[in-house]
Subunit: 403 residues, 2 copies
């Protein structure tokens, strides 16, 4: 029987990131894992910190009675309290457990937030390029993702957001450090956003939420990631341990709300209710207990920093332009123009999809910028072994020579 129309349509334009990831698995079977340069998926290859392993073994050995059972839908109260302290430090606020709802990763948290705050037909404004899953999350709630272009330096364009605001705006969604650009939004940008949304709220009576998707907060090279919760009263942070502890398959994260947020009881109760009825019920029990023991821990970011350098060197040598990433583990690159013939000058035919396909012939997997709303660019994830990165140098060079 035919499935839902919206889902059927989505299947035909399914995630290029995931398609590349699954193609990569196939290519590795054929050519051997070391010979495929798979920079498609943000699937961290760094091990979780040693302390993760210790806590994991300890909890397994204890295997306390009832520890795999239900707890309140918001999560274990003691876990919420511990995370509130961590978030308070990071976000320069003073919140307690009642401001935290445990979530099944950031993807689960974002769906929960959108379900809680969006009436059908509401709008969520996002800056392009962006993680394309947001579009599907909004569609789940019959909300509309309103996409506005970033500035040339890939910071949000406050004027463009101002023009996009309407009485239907439920939220502005930001993501810093950014996927795919690696940009960290400076506090000046957050302040400007806060002023804009406050002014809009005063004018219309509806203060849009500022929803900050922050799974990469701990992966920062050039500066600390400025706080959001202390910057605007109606702000909500969604985060996860997928990157900071390398646990993306375990689906563990949280939602944190500003201490100044209005209608807080309704909002938090709504988040808890939506966690339940969207089918998450609660964030996985064991992982809640593990991350509560590891609030001071994170993966060794210096490894990503070294990889970033190694990858940049290769791109420089191959003559591919990129944005220097301040955080996360992506290099967002300009798809180079194609040469008409082997010795001709490059012409202005920038096609990120064609270039991605071209790279695949050399067993290099990236994701076209079109998949982030930014044609003409492409993304490489460098959360892979340095030896894969180094070994890709020749493939990149040959690919460029043949483009």
């Amino acid at each position: 029987m035919p499935i839902a129309e919206q889902v059927k349509n989505a299947l035909s334009s399914s995630s290029m990131i995931r398609r590349m990831f699954e193609e990569g698995i196939q290519l590795k079977k054929i050519h051997g894992a070391d010979n495929v340069f798979d920079f498609s998926l943000g699937n961290p290859d760094i091990d979780p910190p040693k302390t993760f392993h210790d806590v994991f073994v300890k909890l397994a050995q204890e295997d306390e009675r009832g520890s795999h059972g239900y707890m309140p839908n918001a999560g274990y109260q003691y876990v919420r309290e511990i995370l509130a302290k961590k978030v308070s430090r990071e976000q320069n606020v003073n919140i307690d457990g009642s401001h935290i709802v445990m979530a099944a990763g950031a993807a689960g948290g974002l769906n929960t937030v959108f379900r809680t705050i969006c009436n059908p037909g509401d709008e969520i404004i996002v800056t392009r390029p962006f993680f394309m899953e947001y579009r599907a999350y909004a569609a789940n709630m019959n909300a509309k993702l309103v996409e506005v272009d970033a500035l040339e330096n890939f910071n949000p364009d406050i004027n463009a957001i101002a023009n996009a605001l309407s009485e239907k705006t439920a939220a502005v969604l930001i993501n810093s450090p950014n996927n795919p650009t690696g940009k960290i939004y400076p506090s000046s940008v957050l302040d400007a956003l806060s002023s804009l949304l406050t002014e809009h709220g005063k004018k219309t009576g509806r203060f849009p939420y500022l929803v900050s998707d922050e799974p990469y907060r701990d992966i920062a090279y050039t500066c600390d990631v400025p706080p959001v919760l202390s910057c605007y009263s109606e702000s909500i942070v969604v985060s996860s341990y997928s990157k900071s502890l390398s646990l993306p398959g375990e689906r563990i994260g949280y939602i944190a709300v500003s201490p100044l947020i209005s209608d807080r009881d309704d909002l938090v109760n709504g988040l808890i209710y939506c966690t339940r009825v969207l089918g998450f019920v609660n964030a996985p029990a064991l992982m809640q207990r593990i991350v509560a023991s590891l609030t001071e821990e994170r993966v060794d970011v210096s490894i990503y920093a070294r990889r970033r350098e190694a990858f940049i060197k290769i791109l420089n040598e191959a003559g591919i332009e990129y944005i220097n990433p301040e955080g996360a583990f992506y290099l967002f690159c300009k798809a180079p123009a194609k040469r008409k013939g082997r010795n001709e000058k490059r012409v202005n035919e920038i096609d990120d999809k064609a270039f991605t396909e071209h790279l695949k012939k050399f067993l290099i997997l990236g994701v076209p910028g079109s998949s982030f709303g930014k044609p003409g660019w492409l993304r490489f994830a460098y959360c892979v072994d340095e030896k894969i990165i180094s070994a890709s140098g020749n493939a990149f060079k040959t690919a460029m020579e043949n483009w």
Copy 2:
């Protein structure tokens, strides 16, 4: 700022089961855990089998590289293959891994199924009484739950379902062993349902899916639970390890589709896509690997059988009528009529909510039948320590004397 209207409305009529569970936690703090007879939530108190612990410790000690990372959204391929064998045996079919999608528990699986098969405005038929969360799951997809009464013996009423079928019917949803009645639907009922849906499909061109929610399949006392997948081509089973391995907090389950199902590629790809974009991304990685090692395992059902006997004895002595449960771990009871005065005859004022409140004074927590679409009844979950069940005898008697 105001949250979504639908969510705000839902908050005011929030889950009585969950409210009772959370009230129970408070009452236990005041009166001590042993003095509160908390039969509110289906939160299994039996430990997972010893083999669970062994596999858990083994996987923690090995903590294989990359084992907490992403895998394909459908789950690990080897886990899907193993579960396909288990489901093939249980459902009397021959399916492989491509018929299985790993899910974040049955609640996650049901949301995924409904999102995949329902266009907005579509209808899902369910037999009353039923697990009230279904209503919220349907609402998530803008589908409508069409509720029809069960027969007096609590089997589905095939005629009532026939009358409820329309061209908008996306699915008929069944749940056997049933929550709250403990009923196991006999194969004669499944056959009748299959004939009805086949006939309806031939007439209208739309064959409704038969969605079977089966988290209690392994908790059966009187007979094996008849298979569904071999009974009707357009059938989908959703199950979990919340009850069979006592892991409700870990959110691990799966979706299995009939080998004869039409448009299978679209359906399974749709299920995988919806697993991803609803924010589950994938079922928790570690638990996938654990349950794949435990397909022959289940909790010791004889413990539930003993508790069932103990609880029935208490209800008999207190003079409370009930349906003899064939599976699951619930006793569905008639709310007794109230006496006007201490020595007067009981009068016909049956109020399940008032009786539930009355029981709470004696520290007995149950859930009113109204919360399952069946006023005049109430549900007790007996997945609690036998000593709590035995100790509740006096409280039940006193409560009845004072009703």
